[in-house]
């Protein structure tokens, strides 16, 4: 494979770009320039490293899940423990990076959207530690199914705005955050939570999340001197997946698997499997795969996991699908719940429902692989926030 060098002019092949209202153009340009400047700045890098290591707890362990491996009876399963990162998910890698950048840019006010609330919590804690004012947009439906995280954000000193428009989930939270940004563009920094939105966001978020993949590479080499045979991660917007995959894109011998949320099943129409069932379109400032109708209206999505309940996907994933570098698969609510329970019982780890999608497919894949092979599953977050939803689901109560 030729050297992978994207985005090129803000695009990943035909995907990406910046389809934004004119008012945001100067802000996006300022962001791009500041990002270029500060990521080369040794003080910035040093400061971020300090926060990531001593505040957030990096590096996170690469844990050999012996019990799960024996239970499945195939390839050796390793878990990249992003659930142990401060805040409870990989989101903190990005929020510390972007909030520090915002601070250096002289922005005093932070806004963010959140689905499951993990990015909201990540932004709230980073804002707290860096002394920034923070407001979070969250779909009304999500505030109800992720009550714990709403309270956590408030405890961390952030304001939470429930979004009542549209489908009242992540998509509409992004719309509302964009509208806030258009209104307060002069003093506000918008911390996007995934590898979505207009350029340069998909690149910035990927770069901050790539620490996951870099550590995996280092850690697995230390364990057995080679690269893993496969890496599996869940994909909503796709930030933990890109973070895990990116350092391996040129390593053709490593198979990469992105797992989307199939909800009640693709055939039922109640799902969030954008890459499996979507088509190219333009939303939230980017050209990418979308779930939409024939007229171009964005579809309502469904997933038991609020963090995967999104009708779009990062433009780089659309490109990686097109060039067939990453295999995109999907996992239903039922299978995710099963994996949630299995991991809890076998390893004493309660995974986030989002991550449970990756665990589910990872187990299937491991079973088909040789015992001598290695598979890494990115455990993007912990599941404390989900116990109520899972309890209801197991008791037959569904939203």
């Amino acid at each position: 494979m030729k050297k992978y060098n994207f985005p090129f002019n803000g695009k990943f092949g035909n995907f990406g770009g910046k389809f934004i209202p004119e008012t945001l153009v100067p802000a996006i340009e300022e962001l791009e320039e500041s990002y270029k400047k500060f990521t080369k700045d040794s003080n910035f890098k040093k400061e971020l490293k300090e926060y990531l290591e001593n505040y957030a707890g990096r590096p996170t362990p690469l844990y050999f899940a012996k019990n799960l491996t024996e239970y499945v009876g195939g390839a050796k399963i390793y878990l990249k423990r992003e659930d142990l990162l401060h805040g409870g998910a990989h989101k903190t890698n990005n929020t510390l990076g972007q909030c520090l950048l915002a601070k250096k840019m002289g922005k005093k006010r932070i806004i963010a959207e959140t689905g499951a609330g993990q990015h909201g919590v990540g932004t709230a804690l980073a804002s707290a530690v860096l002394g920034l004012e923070c407001e979070i947009y969250m779909g009304l439906k999500d505030t109800e199914r992720q009550k714990l995280n709403v309270f956590r954000m408030k405890l961390l000193g952030s304001k939470v705005h429930p979004v009542k428009s549209g489908t009242q989930t992540l998509k509409d939270a992004i719309n509302e955050a964009l509208r806030d940004w258009i209104t307060n563009v002069e003093n506000t920094y918008y911390v996007i939570g995934s590898v979505v939105g207009p350029h340069p966001y998909p690149m910035i978020v990927r770069d901050f999340q790539s620490i996951i993949g870099k550590e995996i590479k280092k850690q697995i080499r230390k364990i057995n001197g080679t690269l893993p045979n496969a890496i599996v991660a869940c994909v909503g917007g796709g930030s933990n997946a890109i973070g895990s995959f990116y350092p391996f894109i040129s390593d053709q011998e490593v198979s990469l698997y992105g797992i989307e949320a199939e909800g009640s099943g693709i055939k039922t129409g109640k799902h969030s499997a954008t890459l499996a069932a979507g088509s190219s379109g333009i939303l939230h400032g980017m050209q990418t795969y979308l779930l939409q109708d024939k007229m171009g209206q964005i579809s309502a999505t469904h997933s038991i996991s609020a963090g995967l309940d999104y009708p779009g996907v990062g433009p780089e994933h659309s490109y990686l699908k097109e060039i067939k570098r990453v295999n995109y698969k999907s996992c239903t609510d039922d299978d995710a719940i099963k994996a949630f329970v299995i991991l809890s019982e076998k390893e004493g780890i309660i995974p986030a429902l989002e991550s449970a999608h990756a665990i589910s497919y990872g187990m299937k894949l491991a079973k088909k692989m040789k015992k001598s092979e290695d598979i890494v599953i990115t455990l993007s977050g912990r599941g404390d926030k989900d116990v109520e939803v899972v309890q209801n689901y197991l008791n037959g109560i569904r939203d």
Binding site: F19, P21, E22, P26, S165, G166, D172, I282, G296, Q297
Partner: protein, 288 residues
């Protein structure tokens, strides 16, 4: 992208003779009047009513009509228009129905410029070229797409300019001088200056920066090759606002949310149509 400039200029000249937007501005200039542009969300409260509403706006004195095709995720719109869009989508409005609406209006009003305002995905999904062609057949004169900035406009411009469709771009109070000039070169019909930082919707009043911004943009449009008209929109809801924008240098004002709000508030159709007619008559009087 800047290579398209030459093409644009050539097309601009070709259009001058038969484009309703250019004609309208020429005509108003001779009468020493400013243009009143009215926006409606097609299909709010239903597509049949939209036809009656637009008719009443034109009879009240609207010079140009913007037909909003509802899109599920209207990020540049404030709560009033969002509400109308959502209602319209729930009632089953499709882009084709909006174009057919335009086609019916066109039969009655042969000279009133009709412009489509919507978001990029509605055009992209059908294909820019196909959408532009269909719109042309329905008597549409131009497009306003708030989420296609200059950088992403190549494909869109090609599709539109090939058939003489005006491409109206937006500029904002924070648009830099150099960029203003570049946008005014690819923009045809008129330039749409956003009055404020924010989304669409009524406002009590405007800050000093709005005036400064309009004056700054006016300098650029006045110097543009064909004297590109300058329209100001967002937050304008009464005759006082209209005068304010015109005094700052606007050649046209755009009224959107204030109309939508009346449609939302007044249930009796006859009362609504009469109210709109009077409302527009007053606003148009302020343009003279």
């Amino acid at each position: 992208m800047y290579k398209t400039n030459r093409v644009t200029k050539k097309k601009k000249n070709n259009n001058n003779n038969n484009n309703r937007i250019d004609k309208k501005f020429y005509e108003l200039k001779r009468k020493n009047e400013k243009a009143l542009i009215c926006y409606v969300v097609a299909g709010f409260p239903d597509i049949m009513s939209s036809e009656h509403i637009i008719t009443s706006l034109i009879n009240g004195g609207a010079d140009i009509i913007e037909i909003g095709i509802p899109f599920s995720d209207p990020i540049a719109d404030g709560s009033t228009i969002q509400y109308a869009i959502q209602k319209s989508l729930i009632s089953g409005t499709t882009p084709d129905m909006c174009l057919e609406l335009a086609s019916r209006i066109r039969k009655t009003f042969t000279n009133v410029p009709l412009i489509i305002m919507t978001y990029s995905n509605i055009l992209y999904r059908k294909g820019y070229i196909q959408f532009a062609k269909k719109a042309k057949e329905c008597g549409i004169d131009g497009f306003i797409i708030p989420d296609i900035p200059m950088e992403e406009s190549k494909e869109y411009l090609n599709a539109m300019q090939n058939i003489g469709m005006s491409t109206i771009f937006l500029v904002s109070p924070n648009t830099a001088e150099k960029r203003l000039k570049m946008i005014s070169r690819i923009c045809t019909g008129f330039l749409y200056a956003i009055s404020v930082y924010g989304t669409t919707g009524e406002r009590q009043g405007f800050d000093e920066y709005t005036i400064e911004s309009i004056k700054r943009v006016k300098k650029v449009t006045a110097a543009a090759a064909n004297g590109l008209p300058l329209a100001v929109g967002f937050g304008i809801s009464n005759p006082k606002h209209v005068r304010y924008m015109i005094n700052a240098g606007a050649d046209a004002v755009i009224i959107g949310s204030a109309i939508i709000k009346k449609i939302q508030e007044i249930e009796n159709k006859e009362t609504l149509l009469n109210t709109l007619n009077r409302f527009i008559y007053e606003l148009k009087n302020s343009c003279k």
